[in-house]
């Protein structure tokens, strides 16, 4: 347990110390909230959708968690290149514990990031409709963080260096975000699109968060929770296996 804690603590300390990274990673969600939230607001209202900022905020919170989480997982590549990974790999601790410690650390960081973006969205006018479900919203935020950190770690375990990073951003992270229903409602979309959205894990995260913060879950909160939990367990298992196969 102690070693999981120290691995977790390391991630937290690294995050809190990289001020520039924190600020940089808050800029994008802020821009999205302001530009999209206010830009599309009137049209959305006219089309009878209601308040767009309210619809958008859970999506942007999910986005910032997604980016931070995948990046935290991918950080293993830095550790590999700059040597620190060896220090952990030769130690007499189980690979599963290394994986758990790292993933919990990265997930906590991504979760905190999500909370900060939540607070920013409150500042610019987002009002959650349902505060009694707030603890559930936090749970969904943590689940999103956990799943995508584990996914990032699993991917990083098979990558040698950062060359593949752009590829992951453009062909995995961006599509996950844009096809998830973070920016627009899934109701009434073409069938193919809805099918794609229903295999995008982030859709369930966004949906769960939206369901708990402003009502109106598309898949239903129970489905969201079950799907996210199940795939998190699967990815953690695959990630641990891939991680245990790392050679340096």
């Amino acid at each position: 347990m102690k070693e999981i804690y120290i691995l977790w603590l390391r991630q937290i300390k690294r995050y809190l110390r990289s001020k520039s990274r924190i600020i940089a990673s808050l800029g994008q969600p802020l821009l999205f909230l302001v530009a999209l939230g206010f830009g599309f607001g009137p049209i959305y209202q006219k089309a009878g959708g209601g308040n767009y900022l309210e619809f958008l905020a859970p999506g942007i919170i999910s986005m910032s968690i997604l980016f931070t989480a995948v990046f935290s997982g991918i950080e293993i590549i830095w550790d590999r290149q700059f040597g620190f990974l060896k220090e952990t790999l030769v130690a007499p601790i189980s690979r599963l514990n290394i994986m758990i410690g790292r993933t919990l650390g990265g997930a906590t960081v991504a979760f905190l990031q999500g909370v900060v973006v939540f607070l920013i969205s409150i500042l610019i006018g987002f009002r959650p409709a349902n505060l009694t479900l707030f603890p559930l919203a936090l749970l969904f935020m943590f689940l999103i963080a956990l799943f995508f950190t584990a996914l990032g770690t699993a991917i990083a375990s098979v990558l040698e260096d950062m060359q593949g990073f752009q590829l992951i951003m453009n062909f995995l992270v961006m599509p996950l975000f844009f096809l998830s229903g973070a920016l627009f409602p899934l109701q009434g979309l073409p069938k193919t699109f809805r099918l794609i959205a229903s295999v995008d894990p982030l859709s369930y995260g966004v949906d769960g968060l939206r369901g708990t913060l402003v009502n109106g879950a598309h898949f239903g909160l129970g489905t969201d929770f079950l799907v996210l939990s199940a795939i998190t367990i699967v990815v953690l298992a695959i990630g641990s296996y891939l991680f245990s196969k790392i050679q340096i």
């Binding site: 120290i6 990274r21 060896k86 790999l89 030769v90 130690a91 340096i248």
Partner: protein
């Protein structure tokens, strides 16, 4: 304590380690010498569970690093050739991290961290981030970290690279004391021949993946009819300069800077 039999490691077509065998007794200080790219670090990586060998048998303290990974890992400590510190943590945090993942009980851990940091003269800087350290300071910290948990076998991959003679002496005295007091087996590589001659009880020389000579420093000098280990080494391995492939790490370092 360390047994290696017919060990071979191939990377594709390239044979990095070619059918080598040697053994190191408990409590022995063993030097593994060779020119750049001879296969030293690859051998250490296999011994320390970081790489799987292509063929051959290895045993550490009676454990097979391939099958009994956990047990093997419990019996050694290692100071790597290239940096393996976390730059974003302080000197103390790096030491503490190591102590915890090697399960050193808190009282002993804190005591040894203080003792070792004072020993390598970094105690005053213990709360500074490692990224503010010079190359020599990082090296000293790295060596100090490797000594926290008093392993049965200590691997040192060019531990004194880039350190001044005073520090080198200082560190070797500490390691020799540990070797005497705790019967710690020491396996090290170095490019400083006088260091190997002074410290090692047994030496193996590897070149192009093959062990070309082993024995005590005296024996090696006798075989080659030379007066110093350096001459013996040059006679055995020839005088041509070896190329080493540039790694992608340097390129990556540049890129990481751009990222921040």
């Amino acid at each position: 304590m360390i047994e290696v039999e017919n060990l071979t490691k191939k990377f594709g077509e390239f044979t990095a380690v070619d059918n080598i065998s040697f053994s190191v007794e408990k409590g022995e200080i063993f030097a593994f010498l060779g020119p750049n790219g001879a296969g030293k670090t690859t051998t250490i990586k296999i011994l320390t569970t970081l790489l799987r060998p292509t063929s051959g048998r290895v045993s550490l303290n009676g454990k097979d690093p391939l099958r009994e990974k956990y047990e093997a890992r419990c019996s050694f400590g290692i100071v790597f050739q290239d940096p393996s510190l976390d730059d974003e943590l302080t000197a103390f945090e790096n030491m503490e991290f190591h102590g915890i993942i090697y399960k050193v009980p808190k009282i002993i851990r804190r005591e040894r961290i203080e003792q070792l940091l004072k020993f390598v003269e970094l105690w005053d800087r213990k709360n500074d981030l490692v990224k503010t350290f010079s190359g020599g300071m990082k090296r000293r910290l790295e060596v100090a970290r490797g000594l926290i948990h008093h392993p049965k076998i200590l691997f040192l991959d060019e531990p004194t690279l880039g350190l001044d003679p005073q520090t080198r002496n200082h560190i070797w005295n500490y390691i020799k004391d540990l070797n005497r007091e705790e019967m710690m087996t020491v396996f090290f590589t170095t490019h400083y021949m006088e260091e190997a001659e002074r410290v090692a009880q047994k030496i193996a020389i590897i070149d192009k993946g093959k062990i070309i000579a082993q024995g005590t420093p005296e024996e090696l000098k006798n075989i080659t009819k030379t007066v110093s280990l350096e001459d013996a080494f040059l006679t055995l391995t020839g005088r041509s300069i070896r190329d080493q492939d540039a790694s992608s790490v340097d390129r990556l370092r540049m890129r990481r800077r751009a990222w921040r």
